[in-house]
Every structure is written in structure tokens, then in C-alpha cells.
């Protein structure tokens, strides 16, 4: 009998881990809670000189940003370069997903929300205001061995809905198509499905939990097609042209590449930002940071 109870141990251990994970997930948002209202009332705010604020006045404080995980790279370089401009300001970033970032800024649990999709009507109605920081192309990627190099948006839609299931129908080899994508809730997935017009109709072969997994698995399977943020695409996979337009920085910027999305910083209408947060927002949307944003693989809008 005793051995039986010993058998419970790993089962319980698995459960503990499970619950611990769940608890982590829950505590993430409250941890980002700050008191922007306090700092806002103490300092003189409403400084409207856009670029100069970042250079002249010494600011201090903490800016909490929360949202899209796709924006991790962009936020990384912005945070890093901003430290040189305003050493007294600490910018925190927590990647919780676009939806919860917007939710956070509306609820006041963070200073600036980060969204890698356009705001929904329901969100703008609640006072969410978008500031475009960068543009990001969603590249459609295939294995380098794949002969197909150009697809139309309709063909991509047909592949993802399962209407087309063999590469020979698209001018490639006679091989079944392995349709890869991200899991439900991913910003890249919702951006891709929305732009291509296949929301909720996708017949995925496999789903992956991160952009890196999608790229890695497309690189490892000659039958595969996937999508990933343009900035994350490397030489291990081939980005196909969409409607004859190759996804590059230039084609994203001029709007000719069809599958693209904005990287937004979201604030709430009527809520005054702390001087530090205001200055960081102005810094991030100023033309000065174009090179910085390009270094992160995204495209600056101006």
C-alpha cells in the first residue's frame, strides 16, 4: 500500500507546477501597478515641446509599459537608447499581449499600453488613444527548398482555409502543404488572420507558442508555410512575395506590402501622463528614433 502513496508524489508535483504557473500568470498584472497619478500632480506637466523635453529637462521616475509581446524588440532598443537621453527614468516593459496591455492602460495599471494591432472600436470608445511607433510586416514564410516565391493574398487565404492543400496547385512540387501558425490569442495570428481575411477559418496543421518556433519548424520542414513578424525572419526561411511585392522595410513603409500591422503605444484620453511617461512617448514617436526602430527590425512610420 505504501508504494501506492509514493506513486502520488509526481502527480502532485505536476499539479503544484501547474498551479504555480497559473499563479504567476495572475500576479503579472498587479505587479505592474504603479502610481502615475501621484507623480503627475507633483510635477509641472503638460509640457508640449515635443523633442526638446527629452533633451533638456532632467526627468526621473518610472514608466510602466505593458502589452504586445511582438513589440519586445522595439521596446528593448527604445528603453536602452532612452536611458542615455534620460538616465533618471526607468522604463519597465512587461509582455502580456496586446489585449491586456490596452486593458491595463484603460484600467490605469500601467502608464502606456502596447498594442501590435489597430485598436478595436470597443477600446476607442473607452478612451484608448493610439500613437504609431512603428510598422511591422507579417511575412509569409516557406522553406528555402520550396520553389514557390510569390503568392497572392487570395492564395494565402486558400492555403490557410485548407482549400489548397498541395504545393503543385501553386506551381511548386507535388507535396502536401503543412500549414503552420500561432496559437489563439497571439497578436501575430490575429493580425495575419484579420489582414488576410481568414479569421476563425484557418485549418492549421500545427500551432506554435512563439514566433521562433514557427520559423524553426518552417526551416525544418520542406512542406511548411508559416507567418512571422518580418523583423524576426532570418535566412533559415524564405519570405514569399505577396501579390508581387517582397516584404521589405521600404514596401512596408510605403504601404505596398499588404500584410502589415502597426506597433502602437496606447494612452487613455483625458488621463494625464507623468512627465517621464509623456517624455518617453514623445521620444518613441519622434523621427529621431527611426534608426533605433530599424535596428529592432521594425519600420519607423516617419
Amino acid at each position: 500500500m505504501k508504494t501506492i502513496y509514493r506513486a502520488f508524489a509526481p502527480v502532485m508535483a505536476a499539479l503544484v507546477l501547474c498551479a504555480a504557473l497559473a499563479a504567476c500568470g495572475q500576479s503579472a498584472a498587479p505587479a505592474a501597478v504603479t502610481a502615475p497619478a501621484d507623480t503627475a500632480s507633483e510635477n509641472d506637466t503638460g509640457d508640449s515641446a515635443p523633442v526638446e523635453t527629452t533633451g533638456t529637462a532632467e526627468l526621473s521616475g518610472t514608466v510602466n509599459t505593458d502589452g504586445s509581446t511582438s513589440m519586445a524588440d522595439v521596446m528593448g532598443v527604445l528603453t536602452e537608447t532612452y536611458r542615455e537621453v534620460q538616465p533618471g527614468v526607468t522604463v519597465n516593459y512587461s509582455g502580456t499581449g496586446s489585449g491586456s496591455g490596452i486593458e491595463g492602460v484603460l484600467a490605469g495599471t500601467c502608464d502606456i499600453g502596447l498594442s501590435s494591432r489597430e485598436l478595436k472600436d470597443s477600446e476607442t470608445e473607452q478612451g484608448a488613444v493610439a500613437h504609431v511607433v512603428a510598422l511591422d510586416g507579417v511575412a509569409v514564410i516557406v522553406n528555402p527548398e520550396n520553389g514557390v516565391a510569390d503568392l497572392t493574398v487570395e492564395q494565402i487565404a486558400d492555403i490557410y482555409t485548407g482549400k489548397v492543400s498541395n504545393w503543385s496547385e501553386l506551381g511548386g512540387d507535388d507535396a502536401p502543404i503543412a500549414v503552420y501558425g500561432r496559437e489563439d490569442g497571439s497578436g501575430t495570428r490575429s493580425a495575419f488572420e484579420e489582414i488576410v481575411g481568414v479569421e476563425g477559418e484557418c485549418a492549421y496543421t500545427n500551432e506554435y507558442g512563439s514566433t521562433g518556433d514557427v520559423i524553426g519548424n518552417v526551416a525544418g520542414n520542406a512542406n511548411a508555410i508559416g507567418y512571422a513578424s518580418l523583423s524576426a525572419v532570418d535566412d533559415s526561411v524564405k519570405a514569399v512575395a505577396v501579390g508581387g511585392v517582397t516584404p521589405t522595410e521600404a514596401t512596408v513603409k510605403d504601404g505596398s506590402y499588404a500584410i502589415q500591422r502597426p506597433f502602437l503605444m496606447v494612452t487613455k484620453d483625458g488621463v494625464e501622463l507623468s512627465p517621464a511617461a509623456q517624455a518617453f512617448l514623445e521620444y518613441a514617436t519622434s523621427p529621431d528614433v527611426a534608426e533605433t526602430i530599424a535596428a529592432a527590425g521594425a519600420v519607423a512610420p516617419n
Partner: protein, 278 residues
């Protein structure tokens, strides 16, 4: 000193209670909102479309575990008999550390090897678009549960009193007859515990199968991409919005998983008790 032991014992009990209460409290709201029937028996999981049926996940977990046990138990059991009874000492001294090593390999490494070796091999061998499938997950799980089955079964077999076997041999039974007719029945409850431990490990595993199963919530089929109860939680937890129905439904999956494991343990307990009484 007694109090220290008692307190340590309480820690474990406390955590079990804490987790149970937490899972029930966080798992029930979504079930109430979705409806127990729609949640457990719904055949479509598409969080984006507001569909939260976990039947495919439940069936995948059941089939995946059953498949792993079906493959892993015979191999593990015979290995245990080999180690405990048949193997010459020197050979056993090589096999035993290998088994221990197998037990020590982190599950992410199993997943990695499965992803890099097994999955492409299955794809080519079976001419599939992609090799990620229930079959791949079963194969990985079968290997993963081997060490627990081997170790526990071997311990149980080694604990069989020598006199039983000597008596059997003295009556003219061959070595093999003695092992399977005398030693194994005597070690029955230990071996059954080994099987349950294997089931527990298989049904609770997430990381390794996350990497080889493909993770689409299809109804289970051997060569199709599937999503287990565990991987269902793991893959969507990161990006599900705080407080959303999707996030809550993931806790509900956790609750279902918890009940599953409870059920397995209770059933086994009953079987063993019955066994003892007869």
C-alpha cells in the same frame, strides 16, 4: 522533535488543500459561464470564436496516455524482470545506471530529440505534411514513462522473499515459470503502482509533447496534430488576456486534469484494496 515531523507532514497536506481549493475556485467560473455540458462535450476549441469545448483535449489525453502505457508498460515490465531476476550482475550494473539516467533527463530534452529526430522521420516515413502528431507524442511519452515503471517494478520484484522462489524451484518449476508464476504475482501491487506512476507521468506531461504534438485541437487521430489537456493550458496561457473567458477556461482545463488524476488514483486504490481482501 515529534512536532517538527508533524509540521513537515502538514506542509504537504496544506499544499494539496491549497491547490485543490485554488483550482476549484479559479476553474469553476468559466465552466459555469460556458456550461458544463458544452465545456466537457463540446468538440470545438476556438477561443477566438468563443468556443470552449474540451472534448478533443480530453480524448487526446486519454488516448495519448493509453498509447504510451500500452507501449511502455510491456517494455518496462520485462526490463524490470530482466534486471531483478534474469540479468547477470555485470550486465545489470550497466543497464541500471542507464535507466536512472533516462529518468534524470529533463522532459524538454525528450521533446527536443523528438522534435529534431522523431518528427521529421515520421513525416518522411508516413508521407505526412508534418510529422507532429499523436503518434509522435505517444512514442515520446512511452520512453519517458519507462524509468518509473522499471524502477518501481524492479524494487517490487526484488522485495519478493527468496523462499517463495526457492520453493517454486524446488518443486521443479523452471526459472521463467518461477519469475512469472511466483515472483510477479507476489510483486503485483508494486507493479500496479508502477503502472499508475507511469500513467500519472504521461497524463501530466506537458513540455515534451508540446514540442512534438502539433498543438491543434483536433479530435485525436494517430497521424494528426493534437492538443492534450496539459499542452492546451501551456500553449495559450501566455497570450490569453488577464481575466478573459479564455484565461478562465484554461484554469477549468486544469481542474479537469486534476480530477482525472484523482480519479485514476482512487480507482487504483480500490483495485488494490480489493486485491488485498481476496
Amino acid at each position: 522533535m515529534q512536532a517538527v515531523f508533524f509540521l513537515c507532514g502538514l506542509v504537504a497536506v496544506g499544499f494539496v488543500l491549497l491547490i485543490t481549493v485554488y483550482l476549484v475556485l479559479s476553474g469553476l467560473p468559466a465552466i459555469r459561464q460556458i456550461g458544463l455540458f458544452d465545456f466537457l462535450l463540446g468538440s470545438t476549441w476556438a477561443a477566438g470564436q468563443g468556443q470552449f469545448g474540451i472534448l478533443p483535449l480530453i480524448l487526446t489525453s486519454v488516448w495519448g496516455t493509453a498509447g504510451a502505457v500500452l507501449l511502455g508498460v510491456p517494455v518496462g515490465f520485462l526490463t524490470a524482470v530482466f534486471l531483478a531476476k534474469v540479468a547477470p550482475r555485470r550486465l545489470a550494473d550497466v543497464v541500471r545506471p542507464a535507466v536512472s539516467l533516462l529518468a534524470g533527463i529533463p522532459s524538454v530534452v525528450y521533446g527536443l530529440v523528438g522534435m529534431i529526430v522523431l518528427v521529421p522521420w515520421l513525416r518522411d516515413a508516413l508521407h505526412l505534411p508534418a510529422g507532429d502528431s499523436l503518434l509522435a507524442a505517444i512514442l515520446v511519452l512511452a520512453v519517458m514513462i519507462l524509468p518509473s515503471i522499471i524502477n518501481l517494478s524492479e524494487t517490487a520484484l526484488a522485495a519478493v522473499p527468496k523462499e517463495y522462489e526457492e520453493a517454486s524451484l524446488a518443486l521443479g518449476a523452471t526459472d521463467l515459470e518461477t519469475y512469472f508464476r511466483v515472483s510477479v504475482p507476489a510483486a503485483k501491487s508494486g507493479i500496479a503502482a508502477a503502472v499508475v506512476l507511469g500513467i500519472g507521468r504521461a497524463i501530466g506531461e506537458a513540455m515534451a509533447i508540446l514540442m512534438v504534438a502539433g498543438n491543434v485541437a483536433n479530435m485525436p487521430a494517430l497521424t494528426k496534430s493534437v492538443r492534450f489537456l496539459t499542452t492546451g493550458i501551456a500553449i495559450e496561457l501566455n497570450y490569453s488576456a488577464e481575466g478573459s473567458l479564455q484565461r478562465q477556461a484554461l484554469f477549468s482545463i486544469g481542474l479537469v486534469l486534476f480530477l482525472f488524476i484523482m480519479l485514476i488514483n482512487v480507482l487504483l486504490d480500490l483495485v488494490l484494496k480489493h486485491d488485498k481482501e481476496v
